[in-house]
Symmetry: C2
Subunit: 720 residues, 2 copies
């Protein structure tokens, strides 16, 4: 890629961005689009737009002037931590950029000794003169690059340290806040041993914890197998929605001319397409009346007979719960294992009863599968595309035959089937990783997201970054690597400069087009308008159509990390990438700040538990960068390359110290944080009720109902 | 070594053993030796000898019939756990031996295909016919040896599992026993942050813990720098002993003829050898009267001004203390770190104030030093012996000149100086390792002993076992290893059979002579009698002369582990070693049982915390054995060698499962164990006082004295 095509690509991206900005300004002013551009404010009961701020750049001003506290109150602590991540990386890239551009560009561009370079497919142009490739082998000018490597590293250490401190404080503030958090009073108990003869599961749990915590134990809730009851409950909720929809259609039909209206009908068969036609309102009412007693009896059966070897235990004080979640309870470590309870809405109930060693086995199996996916994901895709040739497809799905027999479509399909398979795989990968992480037996959703985000990070860094960089050269030089495994570092280092412009374009495209689309929300906007016009009949359906979902930083973060890795690794080799990287994170911070304040609604809150993962991955990128530089200096035959080694060791020490100093507070609750008891005595009944799964809770059902699996102290007092 | 010289060595060892047995029988009957052979019983206020059991083998019968409970009551839980170790290894070797001798000896001895063997320095004799060396390469007979490898492994798994279960139960019983254990009510708090302005250290600690544990916090004790006060206290105690001695001499002189007696005198200078002569009783009385006020004022200064950033915190319940010791207290993980308190007598006070990261650094530095010692210990010894040649010695210590100038002594010294240096090093090594482990900053003595015992284990296994086995061949084949690092396994495997008889003799010598000397206690007996005759004047001095000390399993255990490693590694190659190994542990069990019941007095109690280390090292020996067998089968070109690999994997899985299931209970206190509160309410004042260091405690000193470093709730109640 030469300079002009690079500039063309850059200008194109920028023009698209400007167009998207203008589109956003125009669309967001329309009253009917408010629910798409300000749903978070609407759901919180605020005015969609701050009055008197109707200029096109008002959103920028609002985002810039918003404080961290605003983000926390609008979007929670996890989002605030994500912004710490963005601003930390932004800071690293800006501070590195200022020094590196001033220091390295003159050093590189004034070396006229290299006349023929091998970078950028053999063509040597103005652009490459600004990179390290312009410095001849063994030149003392490499000292400047070594110093630059140190500078980037120290900037990273300093800002990461500050950020870890800050996030730790944020987390502490969140956890000691006076607002009642039910999960701070509960622990999850798993691996409960078999019930002794003569006791119920509930009595077993109660007597065990009452003996240990005579003063602070409040109540326990035995986990039940809710599969059946969930199914019935979902069916019932579905019919309720359909009834509301039918009633809305009926009500609307009344107003338009015919006062008696048209009673809506539907067919009872598959997807409402076949079988006999019935009156919808009567039919759904009948179904609901049929399901309610069924649900109630299933609830009773579940609570009585489907109790599992896991429970939630509630305490009357936060310190007691925090301390209980960290203590060993049973002499046999794999019995009565405890863990702090997550928020009720993010508990994965089905994972709670999985046994200790089964969890271990599941974990290792999942790790093995993910490792295989990362290393060999191309193989199944190739197989799939081989098997799903057109002729195979015609056999399996006969009704596509007339379509694919058209010559033009046939050609396109045959050419693109493997690519389509790859795209489908890459689109499904986050979901697959989420499913695999869930299969590990992790009890909370936020933990599953963290786990799958980690897996996705390794996939992107290994496949996209290293894959593209080393690319085709890897297989041709495979025999060299076999002879000397260390050569992979040198190989990576020598392939880097050639790909600098490719990644420059990649970063620019990603921030101009990616963030432009993010801000404009074109796809959600179109979907909302289509749904509103053709599908939604009730208020609830309409709300579901514009409900924004979460920021999803579990999948955003690995993408950002890819950029961090690319920019860090190229920072010294081609310092021009630094402004682009800084722009990516600066623009990202700005646009996501707007989205966090006005659009997205978080699905759960983990109080910044994601941060240690962010920290360790930034550090991993830094180490990858240092190792790459080491390899690069070696390949350039620079005599003092060994001066980079202390830096790599220093990175490990820095990671070790931070891990030791901060990490455990992100895993366990520090008692000094939770010991500030709330001013009001918490309503323990409320805390307890917030953990009852929707399908088991009911206003009508009296408390006696719960006595089998949801125990109360007063009833079991005689057992202790 | 041929068969006859092997038998000679065996018979000699056995004769020495029989002689020592007879000596023991004769010596232990004498009334004056009772304090040497039965000190533990005497100290516990029991009759030295059980009446009516005066036949020579009574001690065997008593040891055999003693129960685990007897051992616990006479010598504590740690000793009982050591016997579990001995009996487990005994069981492994007996069960392996029965099957392997029956299975392998016929298989090996009936293979007549190998006529010339390379084992045992090229001479082939009857003895080698019984070993695996007699089976020709690629023979299907190796299947029998593979099966034997599996058998030994499964026996080990089974017995280790049973033992871990048993020890875990023992530990639980010990910890839930109704006897008051002060350490169960205390925790050690380290890394206390700087004192905030306006508070004393004591107030800081009290207010911190009262906020977290308003109901269960009892009192705190700030750790002080006791170096100065300890020195004065020791000086005072020394003068008190000397005074008692002088008075005893004076009293004795009165009875013999002269009724007025002779007042003892001493010189005040260095070692009582120079300066003016004074009346001892007056002089020591003067010194004592001078030191008592000095001690008291130093105690006050220490408590007021030498407070450190560490403290002991006491709770009113065992559950509260156990739970506190496992919980994270501070948001910054390296502040307010907690750990469960060891027994008062084993606290290493000087280590408590060492800061968190300093402890980490110390630990890694010590690990590095130990690794260097293990790998390169021969180098400093060679250097020392080079520098301490006779001529150097004469220069440094001129007064040995006349002695070393004698021709005979000169020759001997010159020949043996390097060996003497080695022997001195090996004798000092356990002390050096203990010192290094203490320097890591570990707060309790039993933990230091565990740490140094681990280091000693690696030293012995690496240097004695692998060193002797591979021996001289290692350096000659060093280049082969460099080419192919895997060949070290094969090298180890091929060198094994040649050394079988050497190790057989080694094991036999160790149990016949070593345990014979252990039982006879000749050295302590001689020392006691010499001291009694020439040195001891008072009762206290006499008691100190026969006080037996502890069993010292911290140094015994690595020696035993060396035998376990040797015997396991040879079990399949030369099954004849198994009966010897079994005899070592059987005899060891018997003789040490006698010593534990009658002789040694344990210095501390860790409630079996040593066991996980014993477990993991037996397992490590087993894995070393499996890897060796793998290498051996490869060197014998046995085609199905790969069948050994699953076994190695299985060992790792077994270790992982045991570690996960049992280990944490040996590190942390399980709450279900300590939740059975004592019947009587513990006397917290007594618990607190038991932790006051001797040099700071005094009956005369009133409680007010402690208010600076030893705080009480009632006084600081207003601060919380």
């Amino acid at each position: 890629m030469d300079l002009s095509s690079f500039l063309t690509s850059l200008v194109t991206s920028f023009l698209i961005f400007v167009f998207l900005m203008l589109l956003f300004f125009w669309l967001s002013r329309k009253e009917g689009n408010k629910v798409v551009y300000y749903p978070n404010r609407i759901l919180k009961g605020l005015e969609p737009v701050v009055p008197g701020t109707r200029n096109p750049f008002a959103w920028i001003q609002e985002a810039m002037s918003s404080t961290e506290q605003d983000v926390i109150s609008m979007s929670g602590f996890d989002t605030a931590v994500y912004f710490v991540f963005l601003s930390t990386v932004f800071g690293i890239l800006v501070l590195s950029g200022v020094v590196l551009l001033v220091l390295l560009l003159p050093v590189a561009s004034t070396d006229h000794s290299v006349k023929v370079s091998t970078t950028s497919n053999g063509t040597f142009n103005e652009f490459d003169k600004l990179s390290i490739g312009n410095v001849k082998d063994e030149s003392p000018r490499f000292w400047a690059f070594v110093i630059a490597t140190y500078w980037v590293s120290f900037v990273t250490y300093y800002l990461l340290w500050k950020a870890y401190n800050h996030v730790s404080k944020l987390r502490a503030d969140a956890l000691m806040s006076p607002a009642l958090k039910p999960e701070q009073y509960a622990i999850i108990v798993r691996d409960i041993p078999p019930v002794p003869a003569g006791l119920t599961r509930k009595e077993q749990v109660d007597s065990y914890f009452k003996a240990i915590y005579p003063d602070t134990f409040y109540r326990s809730m035995v986990v039940t197998d809710n599969k059946e009851v969930n199914k019935i409950w979902e069916e019932l909720e579905g019919y309720k929605k359909k009834l509301a929809r039918a009633e809305a259609i009926y009500a609307r039909s009344k107003t338009t001319g015919k006062p008696e209206g048209v009673r809506p009908t539907n067919k009872t068969g598959f997807l409402g397409l076949c079988d006999k036609k019935v009156d919808s309102i009567d039919y759904y009412n009948g179904k609901i009346n049929e399901l309610i007693p069924k649900l109630e009896s299933e609830q009773k059966v579940t609570l009585r007979e489907k109790q599992q070897a896991a429970a939630l235990v509630f305490f009357t004080s936060r310190v007691a719960a925090a301390s209980a979640a960290q203590s060993l309870h049973s002499q046999m470590v794999n019995d009565w294992t405890v863990v702090d309870a997550p928020e009720p809405r993010q508990i994965i109930w089905a994972n709670l009863p999985i046994k200790f060693f089964q969890r271990q086995v599941r974990q290792y199996v999942v790790y093995a599968i993910v490792a295989l996916i990362i290393l060999f994901y191309m193989i199944p895709i190739a197989l799939i595309s081989a098997f799903t040739t057109l002729s195979e497809l015609k056999k399996l799905v006969p009704f596509v035959k007339p379509v694919v027999n058209i010559e033009a479509i046939k050609t396109v399909l045959e050419a693109y089937l493997p690519q389509i398979a790859l795209i489908v795989f890459l689109a499904l990968l986050p979901k697959l990783l989420l499913f695999l992480s869930k299969a590990e037996g992790i009890p909370s959703l936020s933990h599953v997201v963290r786990a799958s985000s980690g897996k996705y990070f390794y996939f992107t860094v290994l496949n996209v970054f290293i894959g593209v960089t080393v690319g085709g050269t890897l297989f041709s030089t495979f025999k060299d690597i076999q002879k000397d495994p260390n050569s992979i570092v040198t190989l990576l280092a020598t392939s880097l400069p050639g790909n600098a412009t490719f990644f420059l374009t990649f970063v620019a495209l990603k921030f101009f087009v990616g963030y432009g689309l993010e801000l404009t929300r074109i796809v959600p906007l179109i979907i909302y308008h289509l749904k509103r016009k053709y599908l939604c009949k009730t208020e609830a359906e309409l709300k579901a159509a514009w409900f924004p979902g979460e920021l999803g930083y579990g999948t955003r973060f690995p993408g950002d990390m890819l950029i961090v890795t690319i920019v860090l690794c190229y920072s010294v080799i081609a310092p021009l990438i630094l402004p682009f990287g800084a722009a990516y994170f600066g623009l990202g911070w700005l646009i996501l700040r707007n989205q966090a304040l006005k659009v997205y609604v978080p699905a759960y809150e983990s109080y910044g538990r994601m941060w240690p993962h962010m920290f360790i991955r930034i550090l991993a990128s830094l180490i990858l960068y240092q190792v790459t530089m080491f390899g690069y200096f070696i390949s350039k035959k620079f005599f003092y390359t060994a001066f980079v080694i202390p830096l790599i060791i220093l990175s490990f020490i820095f990671g070790f110290v931070c891990h030791k100093k901060f990490y455990r507070f992100f895993h366990d609750m520090a008692l000094e944080v939770v010991c500030r008891e709330l001013k009001e005595v918490p309503n323990m009944e409320l805390v307890f009720r917030s953990f009852i799964p929707q399908s088991l809770g009911s206003d009508k059902i009296d408390d006696d109902h719960f006595e089998d699996a949801l125990s109360q102290v007063s009833r079991t007092g005689s057992l202790a």
